[in-house]
Symmetry: C2
Subunit: 272 residues, 2 copies
């Protein structure tokens, strides 16, 4: 069982923290503080981490493709080309495998989902967000998240989600939307609608254990004015994200990649 | 009495809110939500607002020069040229005034300080921050602030300030530092050191009045996990910023502009 996640967003949006929070372990180590004299990366770089994990009794081979340097330059034109190349090369290696006479021991390395981190400006999508998403939405399942959403009040989150959804619709950007099946029971249908209505998820990440004022121990961030709890659905949508990526819809992400996104890539490539 | 402030930083860092909070009035109106079909600005634009205000019994003619569009493009190379041009043109109009035979009714429009907003990534200065500050630091008093600092824990603020100061030093960026005078009394000296040690200020802005859990009414932001108070020095450095810009060091900002920064500009211009 492979799960391959691509993680994209500007530096400092809590991407590494969020990945570690999702899988409850340190997959991506803390970034060592950058020496002032150190050269900044001149383009996006691809960093891959792999880990064998178990979720709900299912053994998973997890791959996370991180993309440091995205959006960090003064000139970000085509800054995402290395990311597109990475997605394509993984499709290509599957194509190569399909064409082999003898197939054995192949690991499916195709990207099943791209977690795209939106800066919590409170305004709307930035030109960089829009251009990148349009460049990649036909190749990967896109799951946009509002990063560090503890910087927004409840009302600001609602308004920001509305504007992001308006931008996504207007720009014709395709976002991963899980399907509802007619034979789903009442409870599943209700849970499904709860999940869909919260997109894009406004999330907070943390692997730090904090004591709340009322004595519970939770994963969260401690401020002088209070503790934000990662797993508290009144505080942010992290639980929903986890349901989407790991619990309820992981299979759908993998199927759509294999049956739709990969097939489109393959037909386009063979037609050329 | 003129006070002319230049405000620079990427969209959504709370610049408009901070200006309104500093002067406790709506100088910059809330940005109307952008229509998804609306063209994004293709470069930095200069928006000036003016207002006659009174601070500590002193009548001030306040000018705030806002710079929407900064850092918002995919390609931000030389994106700050309109800002440099604005600073220069204000120096030029003073030069012109000085050269007149009859001088009357002139208003000093030179920029006395640039409030530069740093995104609270938690990492270090971005290439755009560094390049812009190096382009402008010899022309205006720079006061860098960490925007929306309620997104950082106390420890993250301390570490971020350290890295920003390291970057500033390494890059040779000159920041406005008020002077301490030998004849200042014990209390003033102590207050001075308290202020200096907190640079760059980690600030939060809000003009909204909130009820705290213990029943006080404060300017702040209400989250499900607590209320952050703008004027509470345990929550952020807003009070210190106000002391620097309006209370204790406004005169020093104006003097340094007139005696040092303008004089440098003038000599360079006359030498060419
Ligand atoms: N306010 C807030 N800060 C966060 C959150 N997640 C991570 N951070 C902090 O943001 C900083 C950058 O996080 P990091 O995971 O390294 O971001 P990356 O550069 O996108 O990988 C660190 O100081 C984190 O502690 C969050 O959900 N909310
Ligand atoms: N977390 C946080 N949000 C803020 C702060 N100041 C303003 N905001 C919010 O950030 C959003 C953008 O603020 P605005 O002043 O328009 O930013 P500007 O684009 O830089 O002028 C609005 O939703 C504000 O309510 C702050 O200090 N902390």
């Amino acid at each position: 069982f492979n799960l391959n996640l691509l993680v994209v967003g500007e530096a400092g949006l809590g991407k590494s923290t969020l990945i570690n929070t999702l899988f409850n372990r340190e997959l991506i180590g803390p970034q060592p503080p950058r020496d002032p004299a150190e050269e900044r990366p001149s383009s996006v770089t691809i960093h891959t981490v792999e880990s064998d994990i178990e979720e709900n009794g299912v053994k998973l081979h997890l791959t996370v493709v991180n993309t440091p340097g995205f959006g960090e330059q003064i000139n970000n034109t085509q800054a995402w080309q290395p990311i597109i190349d990475e997605v394509n090369s993984r499709f290509d290696s599957y194509l190569e495998y399909e064409n082999k006479v003898s197939r054995s021991g192949y690991i499916d390395s195709r990207i099943h989902a791209c977690l795209y981190f939106i800066e919590p400006t409170g305004h709307s999508l930035k030109p960089l967000d829009i251009e990148f998403l349009k460049a990649i939405h036909k190749k990967v399942n896109i799951i946009p998240v509002i990063a560090k959403s503890d910087t927004l009040t409840e009302q600001e989150v609602e308004e920001f989600k509305q504007r992001i959804n308006d931008d996504i619709k207007f720009q014709g950007i395709e976002i991963f939307e899980p399907k509802l099946y007619n034979d789903d029971d009442e409870e599943t249908t209700q849970a499904y609608h709860n999940l869909i209505s919260r997109l894009p998820f406004a999330i907070v990440g943390s692997t730090t254990e904090i004591q709340t004022p009322d004595g519970r121990t939770v994963r969260g961030r401690q401020y002088p004015w209070g503790v934000i709890e990662v797993d508290n659905e009144d505080h942010n949508d992290f639980v929903k994200l986890r349901q989407l990526v790991i619990r309820n819809f992981m299979e759908e992400l993998r199927e759509k990649t294999s049956n739709v996104l990969y097939e489109n890539y393959r037909s386009e490539k063979l037609l050329r």
